[in-house]
Chain length 418, copies 2
Amino acid sequence: MDIQSYMHSVGRAARTASRAMAKAETGAKNDALMAMARAVERDIARLLDANRKDVDAARAKELDAAMVDRLTLTPKSVAAMAEGLRQIAQLPDPVGEISGMSYQPSGIQVGRMRVPLGVIGIIYEARPNVTADAAGLCVKSGNAAILRGGSEAIHSNQAVGACVHEGLKAAGLPETAVQVIETTDRAAVGELITMKDYVDIIVPRGGKGLIERISSESRIPVLKHLDGVCHVYIDDKADLDKAIRIADNAKTQRYGTCNTMETLLVHKDIAARVLAPLARIYLDKGVELRGDDAARTLIAQMKPATEEDWYTEYLAPVLSIRIVDDLDQAIEHITIYGSQHTDAIVTEDITRARRFLREVDSASVMVNASTRFADGFEFGLGAEIGISTDKLHARGPVGLEGLTSLKFIVLGDGQIRQ
Amino acid sequence: MDIQSYMHSVGRAARTASRAMAKAETGAKNDALMAMARAVERDIARLLDANRKDVDAARAKELDAAMVDRLTLTPKSVAAMAEGLRQIAQLPDPVGEISGMSYQPSGIQVGRMRVPLGVIGIIYEARPNVTADAAGLCVKSGNAAILRGGSEAIHSNQAVGACVHEGLKAAGLPETAVQVIETTDRAAVGELITMKDYVDIIVPRGGKGLIERISSESRIPVLKHLDGVCHVYIDDKADLDKAIRIADNAKTQRYGTCNTMETLLVHKDIAARVLAPLARIYLDKGVELRGDDAARTLIAQMKPATEEDWYTEYLAPVLSIRIVDDLDQAIEHITIYGSQHTDAIVTEDITRARRFLREVDSASVMVNASTRFADGFEFGLGAEIGISTDKLHARGPVGLEGLTSLKFIVLGDGQIRQ
């Protein structure tokens, strides 16, 4: 197979389909999503069979257990896939939404209309549910999608893709609106991220290695986040109960997610009171604590934190803890060591809360809430294609709106410029 | 001078200043802008002297007349510079604006806050007024700016820069919030567009050659438009008077601007009635007409248009004209040959107007108004740093808002994730 000509034909077809999708009616898009969901449910045996091939091959290749786990579909995860498609159908259609129409001195009326981006290239690793999820989000937002899943999930992805195509066809939409790349050749990724004429944005989903590689090689804008070095700062004006509850939840509710707290900053005047109970909680749950000198004088079981620790996203039951003099030092620490992902303050002081909200330059900034809330569903977006720590275009959890753009629209009555 | 180390020190200073600017109060930013305006007015003689050096050097180098014209400051253009700064001071401050705060099922309240992008790198050619204009927009939007004007305007730009610094200092803001590059060495541009750690967005202002070069070499996102191949489509349901008025204005009000119409599309059923009076107007004004076969049978003085003509941004008194069968063919023409800048329909038919607005994928799409309105001031943005034909981030005329981004903010009362 000539990968370049294959990918370019995929790109051309996607570009053509994107024009049909941009003008597709909301009803047709919802019909497609519901038909996809029905096909997924009906084909559950076929999906599980296809998935078994992938899982067997992965085991034969001795891929690690976590990878096999992410790869494996179950009756429950297939049902969740269908449910996800139905949920996307129920979200409001962002396309065509008109906002801010206002009359100008010349007599023209100017506002904005939300429009699809065009063609979205999605590159992901083992999880086959991303195929349904990403297809659903792209269809609802009026875009065409090119999906490039991991080679280890190729049979699963093709089987899900067949359900997606059936849904599109049933609703009278072009099947090429969602294309699942048929080759496992890595060269396909290289083509996908450089076909500027055919692809408008690349969304890599997976581990940091994948995202770094894609970002550095892509000639197309990439929607991404690399690190989630998230902080909770417990101010001396914090409510002690809230502080403990939030610091516990932000670290221990799940260790491996990007919005998990990795560094706890504590004001020196509240450190003794808050760290004693918190350390007990963490140590009971098996969290390794690494602290600066001041923290270590309070908690004996703490290892010394190195400079490297402050930069580290552990994604594991490890937490670094630093005692700070005041809010300024906390914000400075976050500015220097943070990754602009999600940071929270715990305080009852409104002036400090307002300063933290204004001055911490992260995608999600919180007052008296767990960093674990940084998520498209929790934020009310209804779904999430990814999280962005970039500042341009979409920032933070990205839902349907992040797959769209705004154009200006002007309504006149024959006005001309003087 | 070691250009790399000079530019990196400029970058570091800009990054530091951007943090101070992000939290600067609206009053301080406005004070700075007003003080800049006063300094520009007071220093008018000094500015004109500095400019004379540049103009003399340009003449000695035999630069072309248009370039010398763009370079030349007059008492009137200096006054306009000051007035522009005062107008920016009067615009609402976009920074810190909070929108969409809504309660989620978990009890947290989620919304967005508008924040500065950080450091803006602006690369421009001869016009010294861009120095004041860009500095003003970046200061008001809470960003730091690195300004790299054309080498031919170096004395003028330094003189304007001194006024900008005086204004910043008077308001207690860091002078490094706006840095005017002191070297005319071209290597400085190469550094500016690759210092990813220090610069968040590049805005090139000038001719197509400059913008193409910057876009292809930049490692930092570029806010740009390359071409303005703008269309007016006169539908057979058009009001004849409006059609003629708009098609005249869109072409002849100014020939050299990016929002000038370059191709006129006319429905076959109205072509004879509309083209006869329009051709007289165009020919009277010295506009060369190039048409397809159908148009040429109606207007004898029309030259044949080649395929190349449909792609061409003349920026001159030349217009290509095509007769189309219907709205579909008009939209198809715009999709194939357009540059996604600005396109207008003239029609009294609301269904066709709605289809044109929805289906034409351009930064500005208009009904019954001249394409010449595609402009930040006419759209009510109050000012304009440039126009973008990209779809990500800002699209169309870009004002203060385009120099900002939205972060999520979350207010809670101790909520944790279940």
